[in-house]
């Protein structure tokens, strides 16, 4: 997908912190895919990723690409304090994805005053440092 923010050559968004447990998620994200863990044994979808299924204790996890449609579960317009990597107010959101998981992210391509709980959104990808990208969301323009 096309990156939705950041000037060419001047990406300021910090790269995700990579760990043994999360690297599959961020590997997919860097390639423009919303890849979420699904337990091979019991089928549980989970986010954030983790090394073991908390229900059946399987160590085998598929990475499933989700469609990226959801609704705003909550939001916050962050005004202060400010970090030079971001544009303010930062629109922080929790998105409930249609598949039943929730994630923290940013809402982009919207006037901060227009953000509402329950708003339908769709995933996009924003470039981050070290040639990575992270899933962000924008108001839904296509039918799920």
């Amino acid at each position: 997908m096309t990156p939705v923010e950041g000037n060419p050559g001047e990406v300021t968004r910090p790269a995700p912190i990579l760990t043994e447990d999360n690297k599959g998620y961020w590997y997919e994200s860097a390639r423009g895919r919303l890849g979420v863990q699904r337990c091979v044994q019991c089928g549980r979808l989970q986010h954030p990723p983790r090394p073991m299924c908390p229900v059946c204790h399987s160590l085998e996890q598929w990475i499933i690409e989700l469609a990226g449609f959801g609704v705003i579960h909550s939001f916050s317009l962050l005004h202060h304090p400010r970090h030079p990597a971001f544009t303010y107010p930062v629109i922080a959101v929790l998105v409930d994805l249609d598949e039943g998981i929730r994630m923290a992210s940013n809402l982009v391509c919207i006037d901060p005053a227009e953000v509402r709980i329950g708003m339908p959104v769709q995933v996009s990808f924003a470039p981050a440092k070290d040639d990575t990208a992270v899933p962000v969301f924008e108001p839904r323009t296509v039918t799920a």
Binding site: P14, H73, S74, F75, S76, R82, H83, A92, I117, A128
Partner: protein, 385 residues
């Protein structure tokens, strides 16, 4: 736990300031010496140390500074300020099991002049001093960098669900600042505010948290001395630990509790209340004074509900009715709280509870015999002996 199994026999603190001008180890040592003096004990009596995983003061350095002969118990509690009352649980376990005789609990920080909690910093490690904040890595790439920003996501949903406004939060802050205004140890001593002042303070995280909804980043240290109830009988002013509990529930994070099904509810506080009340038989009506971890005003509301002092969504009415005031049914954060007095990561609330039960608080509540201290997932109930 046996009701009179452990007691708090000494409290001590440094001044609370925006710039202590000395190191955390010295601050901790000063508070501990004051607490031991208050208990009529000496460093020779101390054989246990308990603090937060996030506290920068090492046990080895404290022993060196204080001249403690032998330490036989040391432990640390995770969860940052949410674990702030868990230190009393650890100390109680140590003295009731016989692992230690006299345990000192401490927290020292230079949270304003050195490592500010509220700074917008991009973490380079997924963990934060084993405080339980690994999950915040999921917020960092999105500029969600501070405790206020993490918690505001819960708070906005809470406001949406129950029709709560910033002014509802403001009414609680006016009360906290009233208490602080008459507490000489408080940062906001002599500086009460009106609701208009609150409503015109700038946004930190809109629509949930304004500047005046935030606790005060503070330099200082607090210490308490814990021993068995029987040893406490030989000390001048013991207060009994009637109950202590801790409840870290599945997928409830410390400050970024974003993944529980209902994020408007502090499920850890609900589980904690079961331990403090249902298991012990102590009634909520028995609580004469409450000290509740008010890092940000919305968290105070959600704990009033989680602990069962009012029903979900009713904290705004509970507050508006004046229940938190000195003449209310639940005088709350009588030192001004973390918002009005200062933020020694929640442990300053515990020594205020002890002062209330001793009858020595700046804003003394008449006939205060039982006090609750709650920090979302850890808490204690203290009783006058």
């Amino acid at each position: 736990m046996n009701r009179r199994a452990a007691s708090i026999v000494g409290i001590g603190q440094t001044e609370f300031s925006k710039g202590a001008g000395r190191g955390e180890t010295q601050l901790a040592a000063e508070a501990i010496v004051a607490a031991l003096s208050d208990a009529g004990l000496t460093t020779d009596d101390v054989d246990g140390l308990v603090s937060y995983t996030i506290d920068p003061v090492e046990e080895t350095e404290l022993v060196r500074a204080l001249g403690i002969p032998v330490i036989s118990w040391s432990s640390r509690v995770p969860y940052g300020g949410a674990g702030s009352q868990g230190v009393l649980q650890h100390a109680s376990a140590a003295v009731t099991s016989g692992a230690a005789r006299v345990v000192v609990v401490y927290r020292a920080c230079k949270a304003r002049s050195a490592a500010r909690f509220g700074r917008a910093a991009v973490a380079t490690s997924p963990t934060s001093s084993h405080s339980g904040s690994t999950a915040m890595q999921w917020c960092i790439p999105y500029g969600i960098l501070t405790p206020a920003s993490w918690m505001s996501l819960n708070a906005t949903r809470y406001m949406h669900t129950y029709g709560v406004t910033s002014a509802d939060f403001g009414r609680a802050v006016v009360q906290l600042r009233d208490y602080a205004a008459t507490n000489p140890a408080a940062h906001f001593y002599g500086r009460p505010i009106t609701l208009d002042d609150h409503q015109s303070s700038r946004w930190i995280a809109e629509p949930a948290i304004r500047l005046f909804d935030c606790c005060q980043e503070t330099d200082g240290a607090v210490a308490l001395v814990v021993t068995s109830a029987s040893r406490a009988a030989d000390t001048p002013a013991p207060v009994d630990i009637a109950a202590c509990g801790a409840a870290a529930v599945f997928e409830e994070e410390v400050a970024s509790n974003h993944y529980r099904p209902d994020i408007t509810r502090m499920d850890g506080a609900v589980a904690l209340a079961e331990q403090l009340f249902d298991v012990t038989g102590i009634s909520r009506d028995d609580i004469d004074v409450a000290l509740i971890y008010d890092a940000f005003t919305p968290m105070l509301f959600m704990q009033l509900e989680g602990l069962g002092f009012c029903k979900p969504g009713e904290a705004k009415d509970f507050v508006a009715d004046g229940r938190l005031g000195p003449a209310g049914s639940l005088p709350c954060n009588t030192n001004g709280g973390l918002i009005g007095e200062g933020y020694i990561h929640g442990l300053n609330l515990t020594i205020e509870a002890v002062r209330q039960l001793r009858g020595t608080a700046a804003n003394q509540i008449t006939d205060a015999r039982t006090a609750l201290v709650g920090a979302s997932r850890t808490g204690v109930i203290l009783r006058q002996r």
